[in-house]
């Protein structure tokens, strides 16, 4: 941790001017790609994420087929130009882990038992990374799944809380992520009250954890509203044909 840079100023504001419990600006758009069965685009601070869903479709490779339910396969990928240094194409350990926990989070809400022997393939492409890409990716992915018409219990909003200058803050930004004290990505399903993604690294006391978890859950509820809006605006008659105007 760099002691010289202050992440929260005397007015209690963060380096980007946000209040401790304030989200960065989030913009969600559903149905942005022609070929995919479902898709979504999310801008979240400077994060730019696109998610596409194909399926339910045939499982490739076949031996992964499950006779009781659809399998959910997620491929999270950072585009070569999405980070500070150029990222070599191909899978890496970080992407493998994020793909795994994202798939596990989505499996919670997708009614996979309606589509035995099939695969629901989710592709998350990080076009620009600005801290919090896994949350933005999962947020986009669940909108894309809904856009594909795949039945779900609920959408899955996701958001991180964290700690900077010994204070619990919401939606950790890039500098806060680099030199801050903790990052706690959460995904929360409002309809069931369930936590389906939970990770942490850094340093939190038990009380800080409780505060941060609550903060993230509240934010998930707000993001959930944005997800619903994106889907509504995609399927509203005004947008579809314009004949209602």
């Amino acid at each position: 941790m760099n002691e010289k840079i202050r992440l929260i100023n005397d007015d209690g504001l963060r380096v980007d001017g946000r209040k401790p419990d304030e989200l960065r600006p989030i913009k969600i758009e559903a149905g942005v790609l022609d070929n995919a069965d479902g898709s979504a685009y999310v801008e979240w601070g400077n994060n730019k994420v696109i998610a596409a869903v194909y399926g339910p479709r045939e499982v490739q490779p076949k031996y992964l087929q499950n006779s009781a339910k659809a399998i959910v396969q997620v491929n999270y990928n950072m585009a070569a130009f999405s980070g500070d240094d150029r990222i070599r194409p191909g899978p890496n350990r970080r992407a493998t882990e994020i793909s795994k926990i994202t798939a596990e989070a989505l499996e919670n809400v997708i009614l996979t038992n309606q589509f035995p022997r099939t695969s629901i393939d989710v592709f998350i492409e990080i076009l620009e990374a600005d801290a919090g890409t896994r949350c933005a990716g999962l947020t986009a992915a669940s909108v894309a799944v809904a856009d594909a018409g795949i039945p779900m219990i609920d959408l899955v909003p996701s958001c991180a809380a964290g700690k900077a200058d010994d204070q619990v803050v919401l939606d950790v930004g890039k500098l806060e992520d680099n030199i801050g004290q903790a990052d706690l990505p959460v995904a929360y399903v409002p309809r069931t009250g369930e936590i389906v993604l939970l990770q942490m690294d850094g340093h939190l006391t038990r009380d800080e954890f409780e505060k941060a978890l609550n903060m993230a859950i509240e934010a998930c509820k707000d993001i959930h509203a944005l997800q619903q809006e994106a889907l509504k605006s995609r399927y509203s008659p005004q947008k579809e044909g314009g004949d209602a105007e």
Partner: protein
Amino acid sequence: MKRTVIPEIKKELIHKLATEDTREDGRSLLQFRELKFETGIIGTANGSSRLSLGGTEIIVGVKVQVGTPYPDKPDQGVLMTGCELKPMAHPSFQGGAPSEEAIEIARVVDRGIRESGMIDMHKLCIEPEKKVWMIYLDIQVLNYDGNLFDAATMAGVLALHNARILDINNPEGEKVPLPITSWPLTVTFVKIKDSIMVDPTFTEERIANARLTISMDDNGDIRAMQKGLNGALIYDDAIRAMDTARELTFDLRARLQNNP
């Protein structure tokens, strides 16, 4: 790439329309689809562009980093062009290592840019034998509906023009553009039965016999070519394609330059 079967009846329709100089989407044979683009959209890239050509949609990012020159070109920068056809962009695309289609696209785009002399590679040398600028041009296909060669070349050229790098002589000052001036562009033709058409859609590519991509510099001279697919061209096809490509690249270039 998995094979996608186009129904016989669709093929016949396309053949018939072609004899009347038109196509499924109403275009004439030598007409491009609607072209849209924006640049500077990726903050983490030195240069970037997002371009759509009909239903084909591409993002290109340019990253410029300091690296070591090749031993045989100690005083020149390096251009590395990559392309991935990810399953996101089309149900026929598969994951894993770049397919031969992806490799061909990257290499043809690279060849057009490189052979045109668009980038002054010597000016990318910082310290001979030790330090040069390495330009990574990464092509990311978001949605595939044919003619990736032309779309990727246009997006690539736009992103290179959009790129800004550190001024070595004035590191504190404003970032500077790459040492580039020109706008090499390609036109891709397909031959379907006896008709030649440009800017093919996915369906047109699938039923085409042969494909020809021609890269032209600002003067309308040829800088690169690539014939593809398992059918043939005849001599006259090639010659006529040159003239058409010359004309169409002048037009496309003007559209890209007007909106950089």
